[in-house]
């Protein structure tokens, strides 16, 4: 039955023409032509976590909090000045790869730089968990990095599609 359902999903995919976040950019992520949105990444992260079941995440750090800067420097290699707001939600026990990071980029021309950094983060996590924790490796392999307006999002969780949908809905309502 599951495979029949998958086949049905496949047919549905082929038959639908749908839109994502506004018009599609050259990178296909719906980022370039959207009007700039200003909403707190902490609020967005909180809502995404509320609407998406991510069991592993127990800690969220946001820009302005004491520990955010040092954590940011530990995780990412780009200049923090590129970011005007940001939140990192993760599993403080380290036992799962679950992570939601939402960053607001000061200048849209830096979107690709930030997205590349988040993709490097996925690559590192794939190395961290590869061969040792297959379930977490699967999550990392399915992780997504995407952008909408001047926001860049990294979602490592069981259902990154749900996290993406939740984020898009929040942004549309903003």
């Amino acid at each position: 039955m599951k495979k029949l359902r998958n086949a049905a999903v496949l047919l549905l995919c082929m038959s639908l023409l749908l839109t994502a976040c506004g018009t599609t950019s050259t990178s296909g992520d719906g980022s370039a032509d959207n009007p700039e949105i200003t909403v707190s990444t902490a609020d967005v992260t909180g809502k995404v976590l509320e609407q998406t079941e991510i069991s592993g995440i127990d800690t969220t750090l946001s820009k302005g909090e004491d520990l955010y800067e040092s954590n940011f420097a530990s995780l990412y290699t780009f200049d923090e000045k590129l970011i005007t707001d940001g939140s990192i939600a993760y599993d403080s026990t380290g036992s799962t790869a679950d992570e939601i990071t939402i960053l607001r980029v000061a200048d849209k021309k830096d979107l690709d730089t930030v997205k590349a950094a988040l993709k490097s983060r996925i690559k590192q996590r794939a190395t961290d968990f590869g061969g040792y924790k297959p379930e977490e490796t699967s999550k990392v392999n399915n992780a997504v990095v995407f952008s909408c307006s001047n926001y860049v999002i990294l979602a490592i969780c069981d259902d990154p599609s749900a996290a993406r949908s939740s984020f898009m809905k929040i942004m549309q309502e903003a």
């Binding site: 994502a20 800690t59 420097a73 380290g94």
Partner: protein, 455 residues
């Protein structure tokens, strides 16, 4: 002629129909034991994946992973490549003697990462409050370095000798343990690396343990009276067997040569129970015979617990006739006399035997990797060791459970706290960095030592 064409068409159509039917009737596989990974078992659907074209990739992944007879076809592909003379499959060298060895070249080493990692470690050491002579760095050279004579002709590898020498220079203020010669000597006598896995064997870890002890002794491993001349009529704590021993200064003012010190001070793999060994209290200035004991309790006994281990490198190669490895544990270390807490469960053993029934049998050591594992021993000497580690430490640390009161293992890949704060909170007295050499050159997680993911 027309009939022939029709027959060919019918034959192909039959094959497609048969494969499709098999695809429908065979159960969906969630996990591949051979590859040690979760298979794509569902086609996810989202607006974005449809629009971006990723849906096609998802369908392809699903079809590839759920292909009927997938394991058989994978083995067939690998065997074909091997018989065709390929010496490398999926980044793994098919070396002599049945060894599979990870391919890591200079191109795989990120520029400047070594500098960043050594800087992070040195900053931590300097601010830790731990005495420099109680800080050790022990990079583990991989099989590509130790078993380089078994590599295929012309196999490209990174320059591990150069990397090791660079690290030695960066950590010159601390105990730097270069294991290259130790492990090469061990490899001449016994199997030091698994044939199908990237880790060292327990015998390899044991060789490293001996070298660790030797280097620690040079720095005064048990020198509770270090720099003191007032030895007479005192009891001196010995790390050997955790016993209090008396010594007589007037009759024991003999400094043994290094070989007798190391032979007698640390337990050997094979010991003659009829031979009395000498224990020594030792510091960097004086070395005195203090008592004479038979060290049967410290005799290391390796016990084979599995003979059907196919490790991580096998999962990449998947050839048909690769022999199994055996897994050994130390039968008389790290069992019963310890309390091991990995944050999710506690046990009285460094070994999790449930992993002997799983694919990843190396997980028998501490049940795999956790962000933090604490080991409380029965030793009461106030020594608390922090091991900053990767998975190579898992088979090494059980050897140390009779030397430290507490051992804390931190895996930077998963640890999210501040290591500096941890050192202060746990009153750490000794630090050991034990990681595979290649990880010290490539792993970006050492940057966490500069701040750490903190709560």
């Amino acid at each position: 002629m027309r009939n022939k064409k029709s027959m060919t068409g019918i034959l192909f159509l039959s094959i497609f129909v048969a494969v499709f039917v098999l695809f429908l009737v065979t159960p969906t596989r969630v996990f591949s034991e051979n590859e040690n990974r979760v298979l794509t078992n569902n086609i996810s659907f989202s607006l974005h994946t449809v629009m971006s074209g990723e849906q096609g990739t998802a369908v392809e992944d699903f079809m590839t992973d759920q292909m009927p007879g997938r394991d058989w076809f994978q083995t067939l592909a690998s065997d074909t490549r091997r018989f065709a003379g390929f010496k490398e499959i999926n980044g793994v060298y098919l070396a002599d003697d049945g060894y599979l060895i990870t391919k890591l070249t200079e191109e795989d080493i990120p520029d400047g990462q070594l500098d960043k990692n050594t800087s992070s470690l040195n900053n931590l050491f300097a601010s830790s409050g731990v005495e420099p002579e109680r800080i050790a760095v022990m990079p583990v050279p991989g099989a590509d370095c130790i078993l380089s004579n078994l590599l295929p002709d012309g196999a490209a590898v990174f320059d591990s000798d150069k990397a090791m020498m660079t690290l030695a220079g960066r950590f010159a203020d601390y105990i730097f343990i270069d294991l290259r010669e130790t492990l090469k000597e061990s490899a001449e006598k016994t199997q030091t690396f698994y044939r199908t896995d990237h880790h060292w064997t327990t015998a390899g870890a044991y060789a490293a343990y001996e070298e660790y002890c030797r280097m620690q002794a040079e720095k005064g491993f048990c020198s509770y009276t270090k720099n003191s001349d007032n030895y007479s009529n005192q009891s001196l704590y010995s790390d050997i067997n955790n016993t209090i021993v008396d010594y007589n200064l007037s009759t024991s003012n003999v400094k043994p040569d290094n070989s007798s010190l190391y032979t007698s001070y640390f337990p050997k793999l094979s010991i003659n129970s009829n031979t009395d060994d000498y224990d020594y209290a030792y510091d960097t200035y004086k070395c005195r015979q203090i008592t004479q004991t038979t060290d049967n309790d410290s005799n290391i006994q390796l016990q084979t617990v599995s003979t059907d281990f196919h490790g991580s490198l096998y999962s990449k190669v998947l050839c048909s006739d690769i022999p199994y490895d055996s897994v050994q544990i130390v039968a008389n270390r790290g069992v019963d006399e310890v309390v091991v807490d990995n944050g999710t469960s506690t046990s009285n053993s460094c070994y999790d035997n449930s992993f002997l029934d799983k694919k990843d049998k190396y997980g028998v050591f501490f049940g795999g990797n956790y962000s933090h594992v604490s080991i409380a021993t029965q030793v009461e000497n106030g020594k608390r060791l922090l091991v900053i580690k990767d998975s190579f430490a898992n088979s090494f640390v059980p050897f140390l459970t009779t030397y430290y009161q507490e051992i804390h293992m931190i895996d930077l890949r998963y640890f999210t706290g501040s290591v500096k704060d941890f050192i202060n909170e746990q009153q750490i007295t000794d630090i050991l960095v034990l990681c595979e050499l290649s990880n010290m050159l490539t792993d970006t997680n050492f940057s966490k030592l500069n701040g750490g993911l903190q709560q």
